[in-house]
Symmetry: D2
Subunit: 320 residues, 4 copies
């Protein structure tokens, strides 16, 4: 890899990994096309104990956002409260009281899916569309996150790279996870960790564990372990339906070129059509998987279908 | 039922149906306590074809809200767009372009779960807590929706009352669904429609179907079919974990007392501790159930865990 | 005027009325260049009684907006309340209690100034700049409303066309105010109504009076009296610094071409560089002017300087 | 002053300085009652050159807020942009293009007035009202900032304590400005600095100058020069209509008691009924005053009349 030529490397990877046109010129689903009914049947069959795990971080004012590109943490305010109800200021009959609330939040403030309209390569969006034909000020009019409604439910598999290869379960910041690291983790975890077509892959680095212990610091946008740019071919070749990590930005930070910003996104989203999840909380699930040695499970992770959104919050549930 | 005495009727029903203290003084989960691992195993076992169904309405500007108690429709705006990316105004290296977005929305603007802090009875919240000890301007500090994280996944069952008892699949506005109507629907639908402990019950009235055809009109807050106040005992006795409808407000509108506002809520939430879902889109699922005669399925419906929320949006997925 | 050719009429008016380059290629102030210190001295000298008048409509949930292009009414929510303070839930020492609040609002939800970045003609903004060089998703980076900070204070003059030419003080919807109507109003009102270079002109139609009496109806975007497209030359020739009306959209509605949308804006903002105020409440001031026959006053109307805004709310004060 | 007894000191000061009932039991204006028409005439007479000065800080994402009590900086997003217009995605006729925007902001995010519903003393608001009768989740229903509409325009006077008593024009953090300091500043500045009934007083500390040079740091809520608690009697006795400073919190920080939070607010707002302005940018005006030795001027400072607001943004203009 030539650290001085991200543009060349991206172009080459894009060429090798492109799914453009694979599902037709009108396709808006990208790798979700791999997640079929058979995969959902296989996923459901993985529910053996009925134990469930939330994979969402909190959506609150104490989150990791620091204002980069106007991304704040969610601001939650009340329209009515129990204090009001108790005091009798609400005007409802027969002793009824109510509380109601609103939220203002960037759609990528906490646990989220990137939609296919989130990233462009040289002005082109997924499936070769012009970026300006897809996402205007009115939102994503083609691949808005609502087009995925009902689909993201299937077999989940956890690769706990932090636990397999890190110290005390955590990879250091700047650690670039390669295809070899992923293979080594699969080997270490055993047969239930096999990754294939239509799977929803979760990669744990331990970065969130560290933030939980030490404070957010630069969790949002700062240094972090993450996927290496070189995994583009692996991500394409495995034919996974989606991938999520416990980090802010999915790929390793600093990025692996001298001057770069999220180059793997530039291949993964517009060329592979891959759904990327970020800021997922994998710790409780990972502890359970480490305990019972089973790394596959049922996973439901439906993004909130905000019309035209290029990304969306999600409250994933894994069930084993 | 004495139409002139809602307060008396509510007090009597509350007395008969109270789950206060049932799971201890510290309990924050109410009827979700009924949804255990066995129920999740049973739910997952219902996946036979792998067909999935989104039960969420759109979260967009064209929704039903009309401003009642400051509830607007979601307002979605962009922080960055494809048009910007294409024009090259974003300043990213190597041809990367991005789009990002924010949303401002009442948490009960579209498909949602009511949390246990949403409704109070004479200043008391679920489990006998003082409303002002639970929900202040800082949100629900006791039963915030985040306490349900990871739990709402289990056996779903659809009672399509609209199809069973209505004309052309729809109940008229003002139709109060009684326990007898529910029993008749179960009888008509057959064995897969049995309702019991820990189930997540979906009741379709056809009201959303009508709004879809005729426009929102007064969908938000206006006349509607819905559960009769008299079903409080049935809701309590069945020991369901949660119930959701395709209507704005769950219960029949106008309410069944001369002067009243959502009296069944006043029993169901603070006394039964029951989770109520509103504005769910059950039509695609209902059509499938009518076609194959199977009214039970695997249901995941995790609310977005906004810290301290008294209600929250949800993107439910049913799988058959 | 050829009703079938708005594009031709706009082009011709733009040619006749252009201030492009008049104050240099870097100018961002347009007609505010006319409002100089001498004009401010003259304006302040008009204060004879010290009587003051607010010209702002309310900024609240009960406003005129109906959702057009995602313009909602302001949504005001509390971060802390007096009810909380009284109950003692806030945690402050020595008996202190506090209330705090937030607002979500379109910047043109109520009484406002249009900035120079609000309207474009064939992709060009004020002073011949490319629209995309001026206003991106990050806001107006050239003529953002903050560039006007401190400037909008000077001589105000009211032309109460509604009172001069209407029935009972109101013009009917669709009434196009021409230069002749303005001249007739000036003549009727007398010497204090003279309009000239650097003035801040207020034109009352009575449309808000009607909305106050009959309800908002289609105040936002619907039919209304307003300035005729043909006043472009008058607006240019008088060298006024700004103009505001009591209507939603400044110009007459329906517009005067068969297929059109706010054609006078398309000349006034990008070509004349004129500041347009909308939804001002002129009724109290107008009643006073009618009573004492003095139609000029000291006017301060500084827009809220939201960085990069293309329009901004304003709370104008007139003093006589 | 006993540093260990804020509650006692507050109670004593409140007793000495109370304006409760002074303007009747229904009064909502407090010290704005002092600002009469004569004062406005006197203020207008101070306009000699016509030079105008904006006293507002920017309302943008780069502001001082750090999330304390959910106060973020304003988040400004676009509904339409020039980039869209230029690309032709907007659908308007005859070449019209438009840009529009929204803002989400705490009302006290930047330059602002505190309303009379902002602070309570032991559960009581201004004029002895119960806090919960004044400010509920629906806002301030009695003294909402809209009640001041049209009033805040009159004689402004600047006391540049930073320049008079500080090093290089700035007071150090923790510097408590006493009545003696104010008197010394008046004496140093001369006759135009006299402060009396109905005046709008601006006190410059230099704190903002320092933040502008060194970065915001802890400007919001951290250490700062400011008014001493002991000025309560002076603030009451001068009968000023309002007072504003260039600091986040008006009074000296840390506060002058061992355990305290903004004790002077607790006297000034609910007892004196005094309007407090915070985060005003006084530097340009102060430089001009220092240059010409004239410290009085016309001042218009109308808060944005958000219905029910307990504080509001303002874009003040001073004219000399």
């Amino acid at each position: 890899m030539d650290r001085t030529d991200p543009e060349g490397a991206i172009a080459a990877a894009a060429q090798r990994c492109s799914n453009r046109g694979r599902w037709g010129a009108d396709d808006v689903l990208g790798t979700l096309n791999f997640l079929d009914e058979a995969k959902r049947r296989a996923g459901a069959a993985l529910v053996r104990r009925g134990a469930s795990f939330s994979l969402a971080q909190a959506f609150g004012a104490d989150g990791p956002q620091k204002g980069w590109r106007r991304r704040t943490n969610p601001v939650h305010t009340m329209l009515d409260t129990g204090v009001d109800a108790e005091r009798g200021t609400q005007g409802f009959p027969h002793g009824l009281g109510g509380a109601d609330d609103v939220v203002f939040m960037p759609l990528q403030a906490s646990t989220q899916w990137d939609g296919l309209g989130h990233i462009f390569d040289h002005g082109l969006a997924y499936n070769g569309r012009r970026a300006g034909d897809v996402v205007t000020s009115e939102g994503d009019r083609v691949t808005g996150i609502e087009t995925t409604a009902g689909l993201i439910a299937g077999r989940g598999v956890l690769l706990d790279v932090g636990r397999a290869l890190g110290d005390d379960g955590e990879l250091p910041d700047g650690f670039a996870i390669t295809a070899e690291h992923l293979a080594a983790t699969i080997a270490a975890q055993g047969a239930t960790a096999a990754v294939g077509r239509g799977d929803l892959l979760l990669v744990r680095t331990g970065r969130l564990t560290r933030a939980r212990r030490e404070g957010w610091g630069d969790y949002a946008g700062g240094d972090s372990p993450g996927l290496s740019f070189t995994t583009a071919d692996w991500l394409h070749g495995t034919e996974i339906a989606g991938i999520a990590t416990d980090t802010w930005g999915f790929e390793v930070r600093p990025n692996e070129f001298d001057v770069a910003f999220q180059p793997l996104h530039q291949v993964a989203i517009p060329h592979i059509g891959l759904f990327l999840g970020e800021m997922w909380d994998l710790d409780a699930l990972a502890a359970d998987c480490a305990a019972d040695g089973v790394f596959e499970f049922w996973l439901t992770a439906a993004p909130l279908p905000v019309t035209g959104a290029v990304g969306a919050p999600v409250a994933p549930i894994a069930v084993k």
